[in-house]
């Protein structure tokens, strides 16, 4: 239970810090919704492949991709950003002296950002309904399974980024760069079959490809439950491999910083 105790304590602190900056949450909703409105107009120009003669279909496709990416972003990029912030504020060293496993710290750093992004995504999703968003046949259990598994996978990516920041005081930009590449090749904004063949090979190495496939099938298409099995199994496999590696990396990063005496360096 110590994991949940630590995550909730850090998330509550981050919540209290966030509400001390009053306009952050509202501006997040407005910015996210405004970005999606642009895709409502872009969708009028898309008249090819699966979107032919059905412009709003592309809008729905983009909404799922962008909102899902916005949920995963705090987990993947936010963790390294939070560590960097702890370094600059001067709290990282003190946190490292606390009687907790370091991987719990890594996971706790993104907890509030994740919850906030989920609330923002839900609000924005509701706002997109009047401008054309619909689900075809919502399969809620699959949606939940995809979100949970994807969070685990991207938490591992986030922890790897945090490990870089702990050792080198840099790393957020590298993680952001890698994630922007993953975003392009995984079908966030367009189907991966539009990519050149050689890039499609890399698409199949990206966990986000399987997340988005399953999520779109569970929200926008009428698919039988069995059609999600492969995507979910692949995601579970990514999580099972990447999480232990990221736990090792973050422990290792703390040890390197302890040896170099750089936990309080920024």
């Amino acid at each position: 239970m110590s994991f949940f105790r630590i995550v909730s304590a850090v998330a509550e602190k981050d919540f209290r810090t966030a509400i001390s900056y009053r306009v952050g949450f509202i501006s997040g909703v407005v910015a996210s919704f405004w970005g999606l409105i642009a895709f409502r107009f872009v969708s009028k120009l898309v008249n090819t492949g699966q979107f032919a003669n059905n412009p709003v279909a592309y809008f729905r496709y983009a909404v799922v991709g962008l909102l899902f990416a916005s949920i995963l972003e705090p987990t993947a990029i936010g963790t390294s950003g939070s560590v960097r912030s702890e370094q600059v504020q001067g709290t990282l060293e003190y946190m490292a002296s606390q009687p907790v496993r370091r991987i719990y710290l890594g996971l706790s750093w993104s907890a509030f950002g994740l919850l906030q992004s989920m609330v923002v995504a839900l609000l924005v999703l509701l706002l997109t309904i009047p401008i054309g968003f619909r689900t075809a046949n919502l399969n809620l259990p699959v949606v939940i399974a995809v979100i949970v598994l994807s969070i685990l996978v991207f938490a591992a990516v986030g922890n790897a980024g945090a490990a870089l920041v702990i050792v080198f005081q840099q790393g957020s930009a590298i993680v952001a760069g890698v994630l922007s590449i993953i975003g392009v090749i995984s079908g966030t904004l367009f189907p991966i079959r539009e990519l050149p063949k050689w890039l499609q090979f890399f698409s199949h190495l990206s966990p986000l490809t399987y997340s988005l496939d399953a999520l779109r099938s569970a929200t926008l298409a009428r698919q039988p439950a069995t059609s999600f099995t492969t995507d979910l199994l692949v995601l579970a496999g990514f999580a099972a491999v990447l999480l232990p590696i990221s736990a090792w990396l973050i422990e290792r990063a703390f040890r390197v910083a302890q040896r170099q005496g750089t936990l309080s360096t920024y």
Binding site: S2, R5, I6, S8, A9, V10, E12, K13, R16, T17, S20, Q89, G90, T91, E93, Y94, A96, S97, Q98, P99, V100, R101, R255, Q258, R259, Q260, G261, L263, S264
Partner: protein
Amino acid sequence: MRMPITDQPNGIVVEGVSKALRGRVILNKVSLSVPKGSIAVVEGDNGAGKTTLIRILAAVVLPDAGTVTVNGFDLARQSLSVRRSIGVSFANERSLYWRITGQQNLEMFGRIAGLSKKSLKSRAAEICDELRIRDVVSNRVARMSTGQRQRLMVARALLSDPAVLLLDEPFRGLDEDGLEALLAIVRRRAAMGMTILIVAPLIGAVLPVADAAYRIADGALTPMVSGSGDAVSKGQL
């Protein structure tokens, strides 16, 4: 969750510890033994290695050589148990979260240490009373004075009722009232069996409560041969 005080006679044992940072030797074969329930103080100029010693004992810096035992736990092999045994106040007041209140800081770190919400509230109130910051602890840390933040950091270190208390320059910014409150709480906790190590550039203020005093210079730690107060009168220098 407090780590039970072990049967080891010494709360802190440092043997032959060396540490170099960025090519400069900070600690050179330092040895130190602080018996359980006693107060040791270490004086040294800026950059002498006091903070590095505290950081090593707090498990945030690893020594290059030597062994460290805290509350009977070996730092190299039982880091988590060491961290469960200690309460630490670093000299850096930026180790607090400034956007939230002092009370919220205490609540967060108390929960991380495993205290229940109920016991946390009563313990925090009790310690804040002892340190005379009860009336300011509901302020945002950013609005506190340096001395108030200093006492808040000591309160945070004491929350889990640690077996070993490490204080790095705890007198910085303290007024007379704050100093008196800090010395009183240190004396009381030592009487209850807590092992306490205090490092500061000038230790005159704390000598009256010290059981042993050392000076650190050029990476070497030596017992002080002159001084005043209980440390001297107890003949432990």
